[in-house]
């Protein structure tokens, strides 16, 4: 059976809406859990937002003597220092916060000198230092970027859709954003600028997916003026299902290559993006559309106001 598309039944009639209640409950629980997660354990902020230094060191052929490194650094009075190996025994990573009132650029020079003196031949393949002012600014910029993205999407939705559609898209957007944070919290991923980029991409993708479903919904509403909203939604989701599946699978395939082979530093980004694709697809079906239903259903007794401008009768 080739092409494969013939395997996907083109005339599906999955009763998506009837499961909406169940998934709504699951979504609400997940969102609440995420909100709780913000308070405890809280986001694992990386140095982009917290400031401090991350230093990778490599000792060539011999393994890193962690105790010696710790000893050498304790003498510098830097407060809490983490030293651990990663990957191979000759690779280690050192993390510390810049003590108050000290210059971060000077401290890292001193730390490197101390480590070199203790361990002898050592290279530093990666050094990342973020001073307190810069991390403060990045925090503001990062939050600002997320807010701006959400704000502009709202504006876009406002122009593009009527109110109840807009509401559905907005709730789906917040849902996706929140649950992506939930994944970051759950996996204890280090929250960095890269993850902000991932979240912004998810905001874009979530909207993209919702827009495709809504476009079809709007079209069908014009086509079948007398169909109840519930059935309209089921119809539209089913009609767009093969697109949703094929695009989703394509994106997942492309990103899984990145997650597996893209290296350590891109892994958190690709994992969050992978999750975002799944959750963005899910939310267009189970969050955005049912919200419209919820809004519409409330007013179904009133003659003029389900989705269509024309009076719709069940």
């Amino acid at each position: 059976m080739w092409p494969l598309i013939k395997l996907i039944p083109h005339d599906t009639h999955f009763p998506f809406v009837s499961l909406a209640r169940l998934f709504a409950t699951l979504s609400i629980i997940a969102v609440l859990a995420t909100v709780a997660g913000f308070f405890y354990p809280g986001l694992n902020l990386g140095i982009d937002f917290k400031g401090g230094t991350v230093l990778e060191l490599n000792t060539g052929a011999k393994p890193v003597e962690l105790g010696k490194v710790r000893g050498a650094l304790t003498a510098l009075n830097l407060g809490d220092i983490q030293v651990q190996t990663f990957g191979k025994p000759n690779d280690a990573v050192v993390r510390f916060q810049t003590p108050a009132g000290q210059l971060p650029g000077v401290i890292v020079t001193r730390v490197k000198a101390a480590i070199s003196q203790t361990l002898g031949a050592v290279t530093f393949p990666r050094t990342d230092v973020v001073g307190p002012e810069v991390s403060g600014e990045l925090k503001i910029k990062g939050v600002g970027a997320l807010l701006a993205a959400v704000g502009l999407m709202l504006l876009y939705i406002w122009f593009r859709f009527e109110l109840q559609f807009g509401l559905g898209a907005v709730v789906a957007l917040f849902h996706d954003l929140t649950l992506s944070f939930g994944l970051i919290l759950l996996l204890r991923l280090e929250f960095s600028l890269n993850l902000i980029a991932a979240l912004l991409t998810i905001i874009g993708y979530s909207m993209n997916d919702t827009v495709v479903v809504f476009d079809r919904l709007r079209e069908n509403r014009r086509k079948y003026k007398r169909m109840p909203l519930r059935d309209l939604i089921d119809l539209s989701v089913n009609e767009t299902l093969s697109r949703t599946v094929i695009t989703g699978v394509t994106a997942l395939l492309a990103l899984s290559g990145l997650a597996v082979f893209g290296g350590e530093s891109l892994r958190p980004l690709s994992i969050v993006l992978l999750f975002g694709i799944v959750i963005g697809t899910y939310s267009s079906i189970y969050v955005a559309s049912p919200i419209i239903l919820l809004w519409g259903a409330k007013k179904e007794d009133e003659p003029a106001l389900p989705i269509a401008p024309q009076p719709a009768r069940p």
Partner: protein
């Protein structure tokens, strides 16, 4: 829409040509192509090629303090006058907060003092007036302060001058084409590609390197120093010369680093590393005058408020050249010569952000990025071929042209590819396929509702277009915001995403359209292969 118009085919060929020509330099060895062909290659971010990113900030607090100190010394000099007859007696000269206060001892001289200071202190501003205000206060006090806009002007000036000096220093170090740019009011970004030691770079860039020659005040007794009672014209500076902890020096510098015309690493008579220097005309005459009057006394060579050495003047030094000796290694002597040649920074520069990636790590990242792009693309190709058969193949062709156009556009515009940018590239491939998926699904719907193949295909393109544009508009919004977020690697991600959105809508819509149009014409197909 499936009509094969001449402009459509022309556009497709042009985009293909564009992609090929500008991608080609990335695929062949450098200098392989003839001189008339485009040579720009994709520039890799520091996270991919290895190198150091340094964000330095002018220490504005130190700059302010330095300026107040200099102004205080100016006031002292002005009130002393050039001749004894001009001298105005004063007490209590010192910095109080942001202002400088002084009390004129003789009330009859108050107006003369005011006039002298008001006429000569500070520098002229472009907007008219001077950058300092002088005011008479009760009890014979005079208060001097910088005007508010002077602080800003000084910071801007400090950054501009610092950039010039840093450039000289980095060039002298022989680093590989560093990029030095100003960021905001008081910050400087230095991007130095390649395998250079970032700590050495920081040491050379960040050192103020303010050199002064000052006379040692031997008249002050150790008891006076212990009691803190040194004369107001003197200062105590720490010493690195190995003989003593500190020296009491006359504040007034005999010569300064600005009067040097050259400096180089050399060796002294004991063949120890030293720094040889020569003065300009002003420096030569001043040093000649002072050294001839002070034979037998010590003068101190001071770098950044620390004494390097304090040699005895054995004879008048009139030749305008000399040698700094101290506890130098070959390297530190060479570095000091370099710093002195480039001049002193107006204020210290502090590192507020640093990212260094070793070249090997960068090369690993490039390999991983290449591998994940190849694997991602292979998976996408396989999947769309399986999913849509022949039309999937058309989409794959569009995807290849898309890839060429993205790389070509990035090479042409000197856009930088960063590691997150690679992720953006992978994501773009997926997004590009989505446009084709939308079109093909629409075709199937149209075919199912009874339209003949050709008309269904045509309607598919026409009716999917609004959805495609809608769906991509959201990505554009997200990418533009990301781009403005500022930080380098994320910017790279946003940029690839942004370029990718435009090229993918273009290729997915236009190229598949031409291919499908050609297919209908060639095979006179009656059914769609995807319905």
């Amino acid at each position: 829409m499936l009509a094969l118009t001449r402009w459509k085919i022309g556009l497709v060929l042009a985009s293909l040509l564009f992609g090929l020509i500008f991608t080609l330099p990335n695929l062949v060895p450098p200098n392989f192509l003839p001189a008339w062909a485009p040579q720009q290659r994709l520039s890799l971010g520091l996270d991919l090629q290895g190198g150091s990113y340094l964000l330095m900030e002018v220490d504005t607090a130190a700059l302010k303090k330095e300026r107040l100190t200099n102004l205080t010394e100016d006031i002292r000099t002005k009130l002393h006058g050039d001749q004894a007859a001009e001298q105005i007696a004063f007490t209590g000269l010192g910095v109080v907060g942001d202002t400088i206060g002084v009390r004129i001892t003789d009330p009859t001289q108050l107006d003369a003092a005011y006039k002298r200071l008001n006429d000569s202190l500070g520098e002229r501003l472009l907007t008219g007036g001077r950058d300092v205000t002088v005011q008479i206060k009760p009890d014979q006090h005079i208060e001097v302060a910088f005007v508010p806009q002077a602080a800003h002007a000084a910071a801007v000036d400090a950054v501009t001058r610092s950039i010039e000096i840093i450039r000289k220093r980095i060039d002298a170090m022989g680093a590989k084409e560093p990029l030095i740019t100003q960021q905001g009011a008081a910050r400087i970004v230095i991007e130095a590609p390649g395998e250079s030691d970032p700590e050495k770079l920081k040491a050379v860039i960040g050192k103020t390197a303010k050199l002064t020659f000052q006379m040692v005040d031997t008249a002050v007794t150790p008891e006076e120093i212990a009691a803190g009672g040194i004369p107001p014209d003197d200062e105590v500076l720490p010493s690195d010369d190995g003989y003593t902890q500190s020296y009491v020096l006359k504040r007034r510098s005999v010569v300064t680093g600005e009067m040097l015309t050259s400096a180089s690493g050399s060796h002294d008579e004991n063949n120890l590393p030293a720094v040889a220097f020569s003065f300009n005309g002003q420096g030569t005459s001043r040093f000649a005058a002072v050294s001839s009057q002070n034979i037998g006394k010590n003068f101190a060579i001071v770098l950044d408020k620390r004494v390097i050495s304090a040699p005895v003047i054995r004879s008048a030094i009139t030749g305008g050249s000399g040698e700094i000796t101290g506890h130098f290694t070959e390297e530190s002597a060479h570095d000091l010569a370099l710093l002195l040649k480039s001049g002193a920074l107006p204020a210290p520069l502090n590192v507020v952000e640093q990212h260094t990636v070793g070249a090997e790590l960068g090369a690993d990242a490039v390999k991983a990025g290449e591998l994940s792009i190849i694997i991602g693309a292979a998976l996408i190709f396989t999947f769309i071929l399986l999913a849509y058969g022949l039309f999937g193949g058309f989409a794959a062709v569009a995807l290849v042209v898309n890839g060429l156009m993205i790389v070509g556009a990035m090479s042409l515009f000197h856009a930088t590819l960063t590691l997150p940018g690679v992720a953006g590239l992978v994501l773009t491939l997926a997004v590009a396929v989505d446009a084709n998926v939308l079109i093909y699904e629409r075709m199937r719907d149209e075919a199912r509702s009874g339209r003949p193949a050709m008309s269904a295909a045509d309607a598919g393109f026409r009716r999917a277009l609004t959805t495609i544009i809608d769906a991509n508009a959201t990505t554009v919004v997200a990418a533009v915001i990301m781009f403005n977020l500022g930080a380098g690697p994320v910017k790279g991600f946003a940029l690839t995403l942004l370029i990718g959105v435009f090229t993918s809508v273009f290729t997915a819509v236009l190229i598949t359209q031409v291919l499908i149009g050609w297919w209908f014409r060639a095979f006179r197909a009656k059914t769609l292969p995807i319905s």
